[in-house]
């Protein structure tokens, strides 16, 4: 079952300390654990998780709705965001080299990383060159995606997460379960326990009052900020025409990391570009309202290369591909690269709301994860897909309800991409072993493309009435129907199909088919 559950890597906590979660650090942050339906089944039974998620997502949904509804030009902003991202993807190679020129001209050093290993190698070497063994980190999905903390730990470098929620996840030796709120699956009693056991310098009388927890983390982190010589960050945006990088955050920990240390290393996915500084005005309106439900986030840090006497005096930008070029080459799937990691789609997703992030087996959970992860890892989309790859199940982890598309600030049509990825999964299977689904779908297609066959099937379906009890309700079917009847009844097929009723009731010249040769009907039964 756990095909891709890798061996735990070296952790930053003592080996004898049992992790708080049931998710040890996987080898591949984009592919771990059981397939979605199995992982979801376990998550659904986790009472604490269900309660936390239900509360957190409904709260943030309401906050977002409030601040979005008050913006009169919200739809125009979404269109602008979508258009800017489409433009970026259309000229990504030239924009990237222009960004490199501008960052370099202002004293930064640009590195190019094809994949996670290369990016981790570059960052580890840069840190080692400073002689430091501890670095502070700004919350970053890109570094989660490449498993940077674990890679640095293997080189004897301790990376300290400074975002409160990310710190909780790190101390618990856990994995994030939300893009924006990585510890959404924890409640404050659990957080108190994690702090007491793992933080090392907390007051012994710590309670689970949110303010006390925050103050304990603040004191702990303040010591780290003041001693750190190296910081590692991601970036929300990379402005091409000025070489400026941007981090948008709430707590101020990012600002500390971005200003106090001597060396700053930023790992940024190559899709994070905006062409001009003015383009930020669109995204700085879209992002905070979509993500935290705030009109404006408390801290927006912008930096351009190196400024003598102010802030880090060495700045490195690592441009990360890690599968993005393949996604970019995909006409349909490339829209997934427009994502600005706001996580609005997670918060409105009825599936995410119930199963949480870990069920997706990727640091990118929820609807965006369901289209991004399979593409980045080339599971069902693109070539080389493996049938037993758990990520192949992700495009099916959706009812296609469309709530994600409605809230996406850059209008990524997630449902359509999900359907496209399903088609690729099916097409990849065509060359492999036949599946039950495939056989059923082929049979249904054969029947449904011809009205005579369809009508015969309808008549056969009426025999299905035998499966029902005396009340016409089917409560128990063999597999795979059991997947339905485990929790739902099914009515037996109607005694008389609509088609047959019509032929009896509406005999007329309008029929464009041969006369219907339906069975006789008992007047008491037929309507």
């Amino acid at each position: 079952m756990s095909t891709f559950l890798g061996l735990p890597r070296r952790r930053t906590v003592p080996d004898d300390a049992a992790p708080f979660g049931d998710v040890p650090h996987p080898d591949d942050p984009l592919r771990w654990g059981e397939t979605f339906p199995d992982a979801a089944r376990a998550a659904l039974a986790n009472t604490q998780l269900r309660t936390n998620l239900g509360h957190a997502t409904s709260t943030i949904r309401a906050k977002r709705a409030l601040v979005v509804d008050e913006v009169p030009d919200w739809e125009a902003l979404r269109d602008a965001g979508s258009a800017i991202k489409t433009d970026v993807m259309a000229r990504l190679p030239e924009l990237l080299t222009e960004l490199e020129r501008n960052v370099t001209a202002r004293g930064g050093v640009v590195h190019w990383a094809r994949d996670a290993d290369e990016a981790n190698r570059i960052v580890a070497d840069l840190v080692k060159a400073t002689g430091e063994t501890e670095v502070v980190k700004v919350k970053s999905m890109a570094t989660q995606e490449i498993g940077l903390n674990e890679a640095l730990a293997a080189e004897g470098i301790a990376a300290v997460e400074t975002d409160l929620a990310e710190l909780i996840v790190q101390l618990a030796d856990d994995m994030p379960s939300h893009i924006l709120v990585p510890a959404i699956h924890r409640n404050r009693a659990e957080i108190r326990e994690i702090f007491l056991q793992r933080m090392g310098d907390v007051p012994a009388d710590l309670t689970d009052a949110p303010r006390e927890l925050a103050m304990a983390a603040r004191a702990h982190l303040r010591r780290k900020f003041l001693s750190a010589k190296v910081a590692i960050s991601g970036a929300n945006f990379g402005v091409v025409d000025t070489g400026t990088l941007a981090v948008v955050e709430s707590e101020g920990n990012g600002r500390m990391c971005l200003t106090l240390p001597e060396t700053l290393i930023t790992v940024m996915g190559i899709e994070k570009l905006v062409p001009t500084y003015a383009d930020l005005e669109v995204f700085l309106q879209l992002l905070p309202r979509s993500s935290t439900g705030e009109r404006m986030n408390p801290y927006t840090s912008l930096w351009t290369g190196v400024t003598p006497g102010d802030g880090p005096q060495a700045f490195h930008l690592v441009l990360l591909d890690n599968g993005r070029t393949d996604v970019l080459a995909d006409e349909v799937g490339r829209a997934a690269l427009h994502c600005i990691r706001c996580s609005a789609c997670l918060n409105v997703c009825p599936v995410y709301e119930r199963v949480g992030g870990h069920a997706y087996g990727s640091v990118y959970p929820g609807p965006i994860g369901a289209i991004l992860t399979p593409q980045l890892t080339k599971s069902s989309a693109g070539g080389g897909g493996r049938h037993d790859d758990p990520n192949s199940a992700l495009p099916y982890a959706s009812t296609l309800c469309g709530a994600c598309y409605d809230v996406c600030p850059v209008k990524i049509d997630i449902p359509s991409i999900l359907v496209e990825l399903r088609a690729r999964e099916v097409d990849a299977d065509r060359e492999g072993r036949p599946t039950g689904w495939g056989a059923a779908m082929k049979a249904a297609s054969f029947v449904m493309r011809d009205e005579r066959r369809f009508e015969l099937a309808e008549k056969a379906a009426v025999l299905g009435r035998l499966a029902g009890g005396r009340d016409g309700r089917v409560s128990r079917l063999p597999f795979p129907g059991s997947r339905w009847t485990s929790s739902r009844d099914l009515p037996v097929p109607a005694r008389q199909s609509f088609r047959s009723w019509w032929a009896e009731d509406h005999d007329g010249p309008t029929h464009n088919e041969p006369p219907h040769d339906g069975p006789p009907h008992d007047e008491d039964d037929a309507r």
Partner: protein, 272 residues
């Protein structure tokens, strides 16, 4: 108007009461309804499960069946389903083009432009909100995901329901949240689907409604399946069934167990 009916495959076999009510309603409103008997299915199930190759011949068949609308054979096509309308309007063309069949894609889109979900036809095309219905029951309305977010019917079904005489329409909490059906999702991710269904059922029960209605029998099959299993006593009825009901020709009394709607219907005297 002369209106062609797309009954939808699932309603044709499982829930004929929906297309029958659609016929009854439109005829009562003075329109001629035609049922092109060649019709089978729009291909939605194949498309949404990823079986595009298998969907193409089904889509071709649908387009060929309903193409006479382009020559003025009918004024419009009506579908008593938000998701089938959505698939016809937003997926058929895409699937054909993806298969390199641009011509078929264009024909599908031309047919789709003449295709309306029931509440769209009534409100947008026929300009009606009061269709003269009478339905003396407590009812709550579930806006299905595809009617809401794929074809954007908005509050058209509610406009129609609000005008129904003697009906007590109660608001469904968290109405816009998916019921967990999602076609094959209900099988492939049965557990998650069930968790979503449970919450939908709890919200339905909280309204005290006797009937939960929607514009799509696929979602109603799911919600009704859960309500029936729980022996909740709450019935599921299509929007068309409520709108077709009049004081003179009332719909049969709601029955809250799956499979029994038809039995109840069988006793409905002159109610066609």
């Amino acid at each position: 108007m002369r209106i062609a009916l797309t009954a939808t495959c699932i309603a044709d076999v499982m829930f004929p009461q929906a297309p029958r009510a659609t016929v009854r309603l439109l005829e009562r409103l003075g329109h001629e309804v035609v049922f092109p008997e060649k019709q089978t299915c729009c291909g939605q199930m194949h498309v949404n499960t990823g079986y595009f190759d298998e969907a193409v011949p089904v889509i071709r068949h649908h387009v060929e069946t309903f193409e006479p609308v382009l020559d003025g054979e009918w004024d419009a096509i009506v579908v008593p389903s938000g998701s089938c309308t959505g698939s016809i309007r937003h997926q058929q063309g895409m699937v054909c083009r993806r298969a390199g069949l641009d011509g078929l894609g264009a024909r599908a889109e031309a047919v789709a432009a003449k295709t309306y979900e029931l509440s769209e036809l009534l409100v947008d095309v026929l300009g009606l909100t009061d269709v003269g219905a009478w339905f003396p029951h407590r009812v709550t309305y579930h806006p299905t995901c595809h009617s809401l977010r794929m074809i954007r019917v908005g509050d058209k079904p509610l406009q129609l329901l609000r005008a129904v005489e003697a009906m007590n329409l109660v608001e469904l909490p968290d109405a816009e949240s998916c019921c967990g059906f999602g076609g094959t999702f209900a099988l492939k991710n049965s557990d998650t689907s069930t968790a979503m269904l449970h919450d939908k059922m709890a919200n339905v029960s909280s309204t005290g409604a006797a009937v939960v209605t929607a514009g799509d029998y696929s979602c109603l099959m799911h919600i009704g399946g859960g309500l029936s299993r729980a022996r909740s006593g709450v019935a599921t009825m299509h929007l068309a069934e409520i709108l077709a009901s009049t004081r003179e020709d009332p719909a049969p009394a709601p029955v809250g167990a799956q499979g029994t709607q038809e039995r109840a219907g069988a006793t409905e005297g002159g109610h066609r």
